[in-house]
């Protein structure tokens, strides 16, 4: 069952570091947000395969927004 990866802060997507199909470990960054001149990774909460990326670089996301799905 797919798990949503949510942004824990509001920011602008600086980098999408994983792509669909990638196997990630718990704690691996999936995207990197930029907020107030800081780069903040949004990490996979557990191991799995990236099922969907819902954001693109330059996009603003709010705290709690789903940025990716993990299979």
């Amino acid at each position: 069952m797919a798990e949503e990866i949510k942004a824990h802060i509001t920011g602008v997507v600086f980098q999408v570091t994983a792509k669909v199909g990638d196997k990630v470990a718990a704690g691996d960054p999936v995207i990197v947000l930029e907020s107030m001149k800081m780069e903040i990774p949004v990490e996979a909460p557990r191991a799995g395969a990236v099922k969907e990326i819902r954001v693109r670089e330059g996009q603003t996301v709010q705290e709690g927004d789903t940025v990716a799905l993990l299979d």
């Binding site: 824990h8 802060i9 509001t10 920011g11 602008v12 930029e34 907020s35 107030m36 001149k37 800081m38 780069e39 903040i40 603003t60």
Partner: protein, 448 residues
């Protein structure tokens, strides 16, 4: 003197500079991004020019738009503040080419001090002690390892083209070096447009002490004493004070003499700061020079009684320094704290949002420098500094008392702030005794 000055910045520092211009009767022009239409610095200024979109590269970092704003507004001088384009030598040069005065040092001085390995070379040549490290940027992780083995771990990797703590990585052992090198290079590339990185020995339990210098176009260079800025997180300052507590007279003299020698060696004009690390034995090493007004300049103003912004304007207009070395004294003590929109309980994560309540203390010996008020939107696009609180006293103990009371009276709602951490710092016995070093926050000295 100029008639009109454009302030190429935002937030508290833009407001501070506008006040300085007013004191000399100058007309002020603010610039702003689409996100800052309702910002206080825009309301403060006599005129304001829209630069562009919210991202800094479309607005506050957009040289072309800034030069157009200068032309449109008829400004004869540009004050860059700190951050943004303040240490961009190309911007200083573009201003000169456009026939407008850049309020700061020459493009050459900015360029020499902005190239960190070059700054180390120039300072060493002037007899200023530097932190042991690589003479040039290191080409790859293997070269970094060779230098590190020579100078000894821990080491710190630093971006050759930048400052402000960006791209810095502390490395404890050779096993961590390759990964840290890759990260530092990538960060340096994205922040400064160059991935060049150099290696320095990491000095443990050292203090960050800096010296304010000021030069004029007649070749006079003076110092305005030191500031202690050891309480930091992510290599960015949280608390600054002048005088530095427990700094023995010999070390202090060494620091101010080194700072003057360094500034004179590069023919420095206008306000600048030489940053040093001071080790527990009193040895000191040049870190870098900031070729601009510092965030923490108010503590120097409070103890010397000198207005640094109006002095910057006068010197930029070709006037001699309005003060002589033997008249510059530290009287009493002043401490500044920086209140950021960050959550100290979550590793200082940024906390953007709308300020729903904003109540700050007023009173004797308390100075506020704020870029925001109730209703202000704190955007993700810019630095998280909300305001600075400065307390002055007849001595350090009195300044601390004033600051502690003022911090308790601050109420900010809508965004998380560093206020709880700052209250803990100011109450901490080591801070009260003036026993501070640069790793205290990260080592958890102020947790819980």
């Amino acid at each position: 003197m100029f008639r009109t000055v454009l302030i190429a910045n935002r937030g508290e520092i833009a407001r501070r500079i506008i006040r300085g211009c007013r004191a000399l009767g100058l007309r002020t022009v603010a610039v702003y991004s689409e996100a800052d239409r309702d910002a206080l610095h825009v309301k403060d200024a006599d005129d304001a020019v829209l630069l562009g979109g919210a991202p800094a590269r479309e607005s506050y970092l957009n040289v072309e738009r800034l030069l157009a704003a200068v032309r449109e507004s008829g400004a004869e001088a540009v004050h860059p503040g700190y951050g943004f384009l303040s240490e961009n030598w190309r911007f200083a040069e573009s201003c000169a080419q456009a026939g407008v005065t850049f309020i700061g040092p020459s493009a050459d001085a900015i360029r020499a001090m902005g190239d960190k390995p070059e700054a180390r070379r120039r300072m060493a040549a002037a007899g200023v002690p530097i932190v042991p490290g690589s003479a040039d940027p290191v080409a790859d992780a293997a070269s970094a390892e060779r230098v590190a083995a020579e100078i000894g771990y821990p080491v710190i990797l630093k971006a050759a083209g930048g400052g402000g703590g960006i791209g810095m990585a502390k490395v404890a052992t050779s096993a961590e070096l390759a990964a840290a090198f890759a990260t530092a290079t990538r960060r340096a590339q994205s922040a400064f447009g160059s991935g060049a990185v150099y290696v320095e020995r990491y000095l443990q339990a050292s203090r960050h002490v800096e010296v304010q210098v000021f030069g004029d176009t007649r070749g006079t260079v003076v110092h305005l004493h030191e500031r202690e800025c050891s309480i930091q997180r992510r290599h960015q300052k949280l608390v600054e004070e002048s005088p530095a507590p427990n700094l023995d007279a010999r070390t202090k003299r060494g620091l101010t003499e080194a700072a003057l020698a360094g500034a004179r060696a590069i023919g420095y004009v206008n306000a600048g700061t030489l940053e040093f690390l001071v080790d527990p034995q009193g040895g000191f090493y040049f870190l870098e020079m900031n070729t601009r007004l510092q965030v923490e300049h108010p503590v120097t103003e409070e103890v010397t009684g000198i207005d640094l912004v109006t002095a910057q304007l006068r010197v930029a207009a070709g006037e001699p320094l309005p003060f002589a070395q033997d008249t510059i004294e530290q009287r009493g003590a002043a401490i500044e704290v920086r209140v950021y929109a960050e959550d100290p309980s979550k590793g200082f994560l940024p906390s953007p949002g709308t300020i729903t309540r904003f109540s700050l203390p007023q009173g004797d010996g308390i100075r506020l420098e704020s870029g925001v008020a109730e209703g202000s939107v704190v955007s993700v696009h810019y630095d998280p500094l909300l305001f600075k609180l400065v307390a002055r006293g007849a001595d350090r103990a009195q300044a601390i008392e004033g600051l502690a009371g003022a911090l308790d009276a601050c109420v900010v709602e809508g965004v998380k702030t560093t206020l709880p951490l700052l209250r803990t710092v100011v109450a901490h016995p080591d801070f009260r005794r003036g026993r501070v070093h640069t790793q205290m926050v990260e080592q958890g000295a102020f947790n819980g």
